[in-house]
Symmetry: C2
Subunit: 379 residues, 2 copies
C-alpha cells in the first residue's frame, strides 16, 4: 500500500535547496526529485538518454517496481543489447514533479509546515516537470542529452525539452503524443478527477492526514482511463464477449464478462501503487499542455532554429493520441526545416502499443538511434 | 427530483395482471408498462409505428419531459408533417422494462412485498423488453406494426422485434446499433456501474428505502458515457481548448475548460431525471444482447424467412456503434435475401447524431417510410 513520504525505495534523490519558479507563479522549494539510472555515463558525458514517463509511470523503467514487484514498465526497450542499450547508453528517468514515487508531490511532506501537502501542493505543468528534470541533468554534469525519449505524457515532456532547451537535446523521440491535449482527452481526465473527488474518502484532498484513501474513486478513474489506452480491436481480440469462469449469464451485477473482470482488476491493483491526488495533479498538467499557445499560437515557433534530430512515432490504432496529432508536430517541424523522421506503426494494440512488444517500433527506434549515435560520435 | 413509484406523470399505463417469463427464468408479474402515443390509429390498425428508446431515453418522445420540462427527445423526427408524421401514423413508445419513468423497474414497488424493488428486481434483457412491449401492442389490438424504429439500444430492440416477431413487423429501422454489444462497450458500461456502486449512498442498491441517492456516482457514470456519445471532432468543434468564463488557467481543479463545465452539467442534470439502479439494469440488458448467440452463433439465422423491410442506418463518426456493426447486420440480412437498405450518413456528431438535426438522415427515413407506406397501402 502506498504510504505518505516514503524514503526507503531504491534509487537516487536530488534534494533541491533553492526555489523553482513554476508556471503558476508559485515558487516551490526546497523539494526532492527521485530518479533512477541504468548503464554508465561515458567520460565525454555524451551518451545520456533521458526517459520521460507517462501519467501513471515512474522512474522504475527497467527493474522490479518496489511496490508491485512487477518488471519495469519499459523492459521491452531498456536493457543490455536492447534498443535503449544499457551497455552503450546512460539512461536516466525522473519521477515527475507532482508524482508519488519519491519526487515532491501532494502525498509528500511540505517542509515549510511539516504537514502532508495534499491540495496545498501547487498545480504543476509539463513545463515545470521539465524544469525540475533539468536540475537533475545539471547535477549529473551533463551539458547535452544524447536523446530525450518518452511516450504519451512522456512525449509531451520530450517536446517541451526540445522546445525549451534545444541546445541540450541532440535527439528527441516523442511517441504516441500531442503538442496539445484535445477536448476529448480533457473530458476523459475530468471524468477520472470527478470519480476521485466524488469519493467521500477523498476528504477534500486531505485523506492522508485523516488516515483514509479514496480507493474506490481512484479505481473507477483508472478503469475509465484504461479503456482509452486500448483499442476496440485489442479488447475484442483479448476478451470479445467471453464469460469469466462461467458458462452462462448470472443475471446479476457480478463480473460476468472477462472484460469486466479485467477492468476491475486494473482498478484494484492501480490503487495499491498510485496516489489519488497525484492523479489529479498529473492529469491537470497534461490538460494544460499546449505548446503552440506558449508560442503565439504557432507550433512551428516552438521549434524555430532547432538543431535537434526528431523521430516522431504514432500507432495506427491509438485513438487517445491519434496519428493526426503526430502529423501536426511533424508539419510544425517541417515548417522550420528541422531534421525529422516520422513513422506511423501499424498496430491494433491502441495507445498502449508504445509499452508493448512491437518489432517494427523497436526497429524504427534502433535505426534512428544508431544514426544519431554515429553523428554524435558514439561508437 | 426522481421519486419512487411516481404515478402522476402523463400517459398511458398497461397493468399486466399475469406473469411474464423472463430470459433469466424468473416470472415477473403483475407489472406495469408506461407508454405514450401520438397521432391516431386508423380503422385498419395498419399505421402504427413503435418507437424504441435508448438507454437513458423514455416514452416522452415528442412532448415536454415531465421532470426536466425539456422538449421530447425525438421532436426532430416526430410531429405533424415531420418524418414520423403524427398526422399520418399512430406512434407508440413504451418506457422499457427496468426503466424509471413508470414502467416496472427497480425504483417501483414490488406488489408481492409492498417494498421498493431495488436489486430484488429481476435482471432483464432486450428480449424481455420486447416481450413486454408486445403486450402493449396486443392490448391496442394491433396485429402488425407498420414500422419498428429506434436508435442505439432502441435499435437493438428493433432487431429483437424483427427476429422474434417477424410477422408483426412490416418495416424495421435499426439505427446506430449492433446485433451484439462489443467488449469496449461492455467495458464502458462496467465503468459506469462501478462508479454508481462505489458511491456509499448507493447502499447496496437499497438507497430509496434509506432516503438516499447515489447522485455523485450516477453523475460520474453519465459523464463517462456522454463522452462516448460524441465524437472527437464534435468535442473539438464545440469546445476545443476554450476556457470557461475566464482568461487564464486557475491552476486548480475547478472547471477551467468549457468541456469540463459541460460534462459536469451533463452529470448533474442527469441525476435529476434518472434512477441509478435503472442505469445498472438497462446497461446490463445491453451488455447481454447478442442476437447471433441466440441463434447458434449465426446472425443470419435470426432473420431467416423474414418478410420485413429493413432500413439500416449508421453514422460515420459514431465510434460507440461504428458502421462495421451495421454492416454485420446488413450482411446477415443479405444472407437470407431480406429486403434491406443500408445508409451510412456522413456526420461528425458521433453516436448522438441519431437524436440531432441531420437532413440526410431525415431524407433517408422519409424515402424509406414513403416507399413502405405505398406497399402497405397507406395513403
Amino acid at each position: 500500500m502506498l504510504a505518505a513520504a516514503e524514503t526507503s525505495w531504491p534509487g537516487h534523490r536530488l534534494e533541491v535547496a533553492g526555489k523553482l519558479r513554476l508556471d503558476s507563479g508559485v515558487e516551490l522549494g526546497p523539494f526532492t526529485i527521485a530518479y533512477q539510472t541504468y548503464g554508465t555515463l561515458n567520460a565525454a558525458r555524451s551518451n545520456a538518454i533521458l526517459i520521460c514517463h507517462a501519467l501513471t509511470g515512474d522512474q522504475y523503467v527497467a527493474e522490479p517496481h518496489p511496490i508491485t514487484r512487477k518488471p519495469g514498465w519499459w523492459t521491452t526497450l531498456v536493457g543490455p543489447g536492447k534498443v535503449l542499450d544499457t551497455d552503450r547508453y546512460f539512461l536516466i528517468c525522473c519521477n515527475v514533479l507532482g508524482g508519488c514515487m519519491g519526487t515532491s508531490g501532494p502525498k509528500e511532506v511540505n517542509p515549510a509546515t511539516g504537514e502532508i501537502w495534499g491540495l496545498d501542493f501547487p498545480v504543476i505543468t509539463i513545463g515545470d516537470m521539465v524544469r525540475a528534470q533539468r536540475l537533475v541533468i545539471d547535477a549529473l554534469g551533463i551539458d547535452t542529452l544524447f536523446c530525450v525519449i518518452g511516450g504519451s505524457m512522456g512525449g509531451m515532456q520530450v517536446l517541451q525539452w526540445a522546445s525549451a532547451y534545444p541546445e541540450r537535446v541532440f535527439a528527441a523521440v516523442p511517441i504516441a503524443c500531442a503538442a496539445r491535449h484535445s477536448a476529448q482527452n480533457i473530458a476523459f481526465h475530468e471524468v477520472g478527477r470527478q470519480a476521485i473527488m466524488a469519493d467521500p474518502d477523498w476528504c477534500g484532498g486531505a485523506y492522508l492526514k485523516k488516515g483514509r484513501r479514496p480507493a474506490r474513486g481512484l479505481a473507477v478513474a483508472r478503469m475509465a482511463a484504461h479503456i482509452t489506452y486500448l483499442s476496440e480491436a485489442a479488447l475484442h481480440r483479448k476478451f470479445g464477449r467471453n464469460l469469466q469462469n462461467r458458462q452462462n449469464f448470472t443475471y446479476g451485477f457480478d463480473a460476468d464478462f472477462a472484460v469486466e473482470s479485467y477492468l476491475r482488476h486494473q482498478g484494484i491493483t492501480f490503487v495499491e501503487r498510485f496516489d489519488a491526488n497525484s492523479y489529479l495533479y498529473i492529469t491537470r498538467a497534461m490538460d494544460y499542455f499546449d505548446l503552440a499557445a506558449e508560442h503565439g499560437g504557432v507550433l512551428a515557433d516552438a521549434f524555430r532554429g532547432t538543431k535537434s534530430r526528431f523521430c516522431v512515432v504514432s500507432f495506427t490504432s491509438d485513438w487517445l493520441f491519434p496519428t493526426s496529432e503526430s502529423r501536426a508536430i511533424v508539419h510544425a517541424l517541417n515548417a522550420v526545416a528541422a531534421n525529422v523522421s516520422f513513422v506511423e506503426i501499424e498496430s491494433d494494440k491502441g495507445h498502449d502499443a508504445f509499452l508493448l512488444d512491437e518489432p517494427e517500433f523497436f526497429a524504427t527506434l534502433r535505426g534512428f538511434l544508431d544514426g544519431c549515435a554515429r553523428h554524435r560520435g558514439l561508437a
